[in-house]
């Protein structure tokens, strides 16, 4: 047998990389942070699973990614829609794939997410944590990008006829978090998610029985069973707006007047930007025909 000197080529690196990945996963030699975020699993498994949906199905068009800081904390606030919170996952992937620093967006989720087995652990490994002020402020103090949907279930659980109408922003806890940490608020508007599962009706009695916040009826669900879970292939736009500074001082965080004013400002910015994006979408759709 002759001496074989391996020529490092792309396939050799890939095979070696995949084997090393498998070994690390099998022996537990990887790191997670205190929130349970597993960056290796997110980059190697979760994001590649979401990417076809992002690129080929929703054809996400991202604008204004330069509004996100290259490093340091910021609170990314977006509208919420689409029955299943696919918009949160797409937003996180947009931030990672389009931002030059490939930053991870740390999403804040409802307690329902963390109640469910499997889902809760996937959410934590993907970098999410419970939407509560201690967690949001802790992440911001560590200089993370934090993603929040202040409409919550009111946003994703609204009927199709209410599409792109921003719902109430709750108590504005996200504003307090920004004020306490001095992190800027970056308003984001997402167009397209409303059409993925157009919710025609809400069976409240079934929802109560199942303990969920709503039970959607869409053109395909529950009629087609699991097939009804396939989202409609709407074209998406994600627009990042200019940062709204929140460095008024931590002592303002308890002042309801300041909090509601700032929350309203963010809400109106997102609503306006949604109207502009909808007009843009109408133009582009016309141009295609």
């Amino acid at each position: 047998m002759t001496e074989y000197e391996p020529v490092p080529d792309v396939w050799d690196r890939r095979v070696a990389g995949a084997l090393a990945f498998l070994r690390r996963r099998l022996t537990g030699e990887y790191e997670v942070d205190e929130f349970g975020f597993d960056p290796e699993l997110t980059d190697a498994v979760l994001h590649p699973l979401l990417r076809p949906l992002y690129r080929d199905w929703f054809r996400v068009d991202v604008r204004g990614i330069e509004q996100l800081p290259a490093k340091g904390a910021a609170l990314v606030v977006a509208n919420h829609s689409g029955t299943l919170a696919l918009d949160a996952l797409m937003l996180a992937l947009a931030v990672h794939d389009e931002h030059p620093e490939q930053r991870h967006l740390r999403l804040l989720g409802a307690d329902l997410v963390f109640r469910m087995p499997v889902v809760s652990e996937l959410a934590r490994k993907h970098g999410s944590t419970l939407a509560c002020n201690p967690d949001a402020e802790r992440l911001l103090r560590k200089g993370e990008l934090v993603g929040v949907f202040p409409e919550g279930f009111k946003g994703i659980g609204k009927l199709y006829r209410d599409r792109y109408k921003l719902q109430r922003f709750g108590r504005g806890g996200f504003v307090s978090a920004a004020l306490r940490t001095g992190a800027p608020i970056i308003p984001v508007s997402i167009v397209g998610a409303e059409e993925t599962y157009p919710m025609l009706g809400n069976l409240k009695s079934v929802a109560r029985l199942l303990g969920t916040p709503y039970f959607p009826v869409t053109p395909t669900f529950p009629w087609l069973g699991p097939l009804g879970l396939i989202p409609l292939p709407s074209k998406w736009y994600i627009q990042f707006g200019s940062p709204i500074p929140a460095d008024l001082g931590a002592d303002q965080a308890d002042d309801p007047l300041v909090v509601f004013n700032l929350a309203d400002q963010v809400r109106e910015t997102i609503q306006q930007s949604l109207h502009q994006l909808l007009a843009l979408r109408a133009e582009e759709t016309e141009a295609e025909f």
Binding site: D111, F114, L130
Partner: protein, 357 residues
Amino acid sequence: MTSAPVSAATPPRVVLVTGVSRYLGAQVAARLAADPRIERVIGLDDREPTGQQAAVLGDTVEFERADICTSEPARVITGRRVEAVVHLDIASGAGTQPGGRAAMKEQNVIGTMQLLAACQRAPDLRKIVVRSSTAAYGASFRDPAVFTEDTEPREIPRGGFARDVLDIEGYVRGFRRRRPEVAATVLRFAPLIGRHANTTLTRYFSSPIVPTVLGRDPRLQFVHVDDALEVLHRSVLEAHPGTFNVAGAGVITLSQAVRRAGRIALPVPERGMSALSRSGGGLGTTVSLDQLDLFVHGRVVDTTALIDEFGYTPRPTAVAFADFLRGTGSVLPGEAIKALEQTILAGIRQGRAALGR
């Protein structure tokens, strides 16, 4: 007889340690006795220390046999002019003692009440250090990811130990109100781990197949026994009144811990696990409701207050766990899998070379 007020920062002359017939109590008492700044150390327990514990205590610690659930400790504390009390006689599981959960609760709750009542009347007492646990934060799906000392539990936990811990801390709060001049230190320890630690959790990681909760991968934190001893020692010699989390920085998830230990996880639905814990085991291990809560919710604490106040940083959770694994002496899969990886890689390279590409 009057004496000048003594600052809490001065090391106490006489220290009483409860629970010296068990590992932690014996270690703490022996270490205090070895410190020249302390004149005498009295060890209290309701049974004579045996074996290793007796050897550790040696003749430097004066042993007093007394049942903590009675008023006997009061006689010792006042009679021997005790200046500092270290309360470690707190059982974390019912499995190790006769009488089960009832005896455990008696020891934890009534024992602490009696001891604190005795401390309240002790004229020379300047300091009290109480062992607590991060279980004091309870377990709920609405909990923040990281607990700071001021986080209140949202729900009363289902585990017996966690309930006891909440009661114990409640009594200490009452004591602080009644004797504000006594420096009271409450240490909320993460699960202890180390080469010689023998706890429910270390026994759990020592069995070849470990039951986990299906669909849950909790975040765990440990504190190395040596770090726990250091923090306890400093609490007695220095003045650190207040409540502090004691844990190693960082987390490892249960699945990581199981893989690093080279064990096989057996996911069981949560209902099955609670049935298992009530029936008292099977699979070579007992899973208590306390542990079940931990295995569903996980538990991570912030240790900034400890590091700032004590000027001491416990070793990280991952390092403490690795040290525990070295102590078990079992063969870890890391090296074997690394070798396998190299073999497969070499095989693929040779195969590709043979194919001429």
